[in-house]
């Protein structure tokens, strides 16, 4: 039982990081990036190949993976999302769905071409090793994963609260016109936001490649998980997506004890529906739905 809860939190930390990345683009730009899971998948492959070709520890290779995904994010914003973000209201969300769905297909096929359809896991030497605390196994890989997730969220929180760029992101999320009227370059804020979201996907992907496996097809599953978490947290809440991710991991773990492991995936979707029905503003959202 306690073991399950701990594992639930480990998995939940990855859900949280994946979801915060999606929540950034959604909360600030009002675009829903279905290809978020594909960015995560590429992040996972980057750390896998850096490990298997060059022997770089996946937690160290984050210093390459994060900027790489940040750049991919910048590029995607310039090529694709910048044009979507310019639209208004419903046209924006619809177009972002359609375009990112197309992007999913493209990125998946690129991944199959480049990496084959095989499942890959970053098999570090210390895999399976860990600390044993009161009979609960804490593998190093998962422990490191949770630490990195927490540090990332703390850093993002400080960035958003303390820096001028972070404040500009929050202001743009609240009211992009008022942000422009304050002299904030909103297209540039969008670009930064999208790239940050992609970088977070890269971190999540690295953690996935170490603690489970990556394959070209994993993207949509992760997008769906992230989406459930974003809805659970409330669409206006960016940092709030992290605790919501931990919660989903926990609930999934508990459900596999009390219901059945085969219903693990269903539980998330049931939560998704319940939140939309009962509390559409989410757990941490207070503003009217974006």
């Amino acid at each position: 039982m306690a073991q399950n809860i701990v594992y639930g939190l480990f998995v939940g930390g990855i859900y949280g990081i994946a979801a915060v990345g999606l929540a950034l683009a959604f909360g600030v730009m009002n675009v829903l990036n279905i290809a978020h899971g594909e960015l995560l998948m590429f992040g996972g492959y980057i750390s896998f190949w850096l490990f298997s070709l060059l022997g770089i520890d996946p937690f160290v290779s984050l210093i390459i993976c994060i900027p790489a995904l940040f750049l991919i994010g910048l590029l995607l914003d310039r090529l694709v999302y910048r044009h979507v973000a310019r639209l208004r209201g419903e046209a924006k969300i619809k177009n972002s769905l359609l375009i990112s769905f197309g992007l999913v297909l493209i990125l998946q096929n690129v991944a199959i071409r480049l990496f084959t359809a095989d499942e890959r896991t970053t098999q570090v030497s210390y895999i399976g090793q860990g600390i044993n605390l009161f009979g609960i196994a804490l593998p190093y890989t998962r422990l490191m994963g949770l630490v990195i997730a927490l540090v990332t969220i703390l850093a993002l929180h400080l960035f958003l609260q303390r820096t001028d760029s972070g404040k500009a992101i929050r202001a743009t999320a609240e009211d992009w016109e008022a942000a422009e009227l304050s002299g904030i370059n909103v297209p540039r804020v969008y670009m930064l936001t999208f790239a940050l979201g992609a970088a977070l996907a890269g971190i999540a992907g690295t953690l996935v490649s170490v603690t489970s496996s990556v394959a070209p097809s994993i993207g949509l599953d992760w997008t769906l998980k992230a989406l459930i978490v974003v809805v659970l947290a409330g669409t206006g809440s960016i940092i709030g997506a992290f605790p919501a991710g931990l919660l989903l991991g926990l609930v999934e773990a508990l459900s596999s004890i009390f219901i059945s492991a085969s219903y693990r995936e269903v539980v998330g979707l049931v939560i998704f529906l319940l939140v939309l029905l009962i509390r559409p503003q989410g757990l941490f959202g207070s503003r009217e739905a974006a």
């Binding site: 001028d164 404040k167 500009a168 929050r170 202001a171 609240e174 009211d175 016109e177 008022a178 942000a179 422009e180 009227l181 304050s182 002299g183 904030i184 370059n185 909103v186 503003r287």
Partner: protein
Amino acid sequence: MLHIEKVAAAYGDVQALWDVSLDVQVNEIVVLIGPNGAGKTTLMRTIAGLHRPRSGRILFEGTALHTVAAHQIVERGIILVPEGRRLFEGMTVLENLQLGAYTRRAKQQRDKTLRHVLDIFPLLAERRHDRASSLSGGQQQMLAIGRALMGLPRLLMLDEPSLGLAPLIVRHIFEIVKSIKEEGVTVLLVEQNARRALELAHRAYILEQGRIVGTGSGSDLLHNDEVREAYLGYAPVTARTLT
């Protein structure tokens, strides 16, 4: 300073402005009055760069504004306090003010400007760590003006600053507008409260159904029979007893 030449603007198929021409000279208070739906807000948004004109030109000290992004217009010193205030309500008073000084030009003097703005609005200083959404309507309007001042405006545009506020607060806001002008800032003001605005104005324009239908000095319009009937006849009781 500001020269608007035959500007037309539309929302989709609905045309909101027709051939609007208007001038603002340095250190004037120019007032724009007109009924609801006349296009006053559209004109302000068009000058501020949130809305692209369909035709015509907007020049600020000889350089074009109508082709420039809104945040670059702010950089040039033209700042709009939008209708409905549009504060960042989830953020603190201080954060709202800091964000007002986001342009490179304003950021260099941010701390100095902040002290000045808090001198003008001591109430905001007291509540600097509170969320903007917790302020009263009048305080929110002061914060909106304060945020605009943080950007070091040379031309300050105010869209209905007195809307929904109690008379005493309205008077205070008009006094502040006057003192802002005395500091050398040029003001373009859209107001429902036509009497008070015209008393303050050097010059005024009347906008009806998207067209400029009249212009003159503030006092001329105050004593013009048509204007009195259309815009001042329904003035509040307190104002009417003064005439």
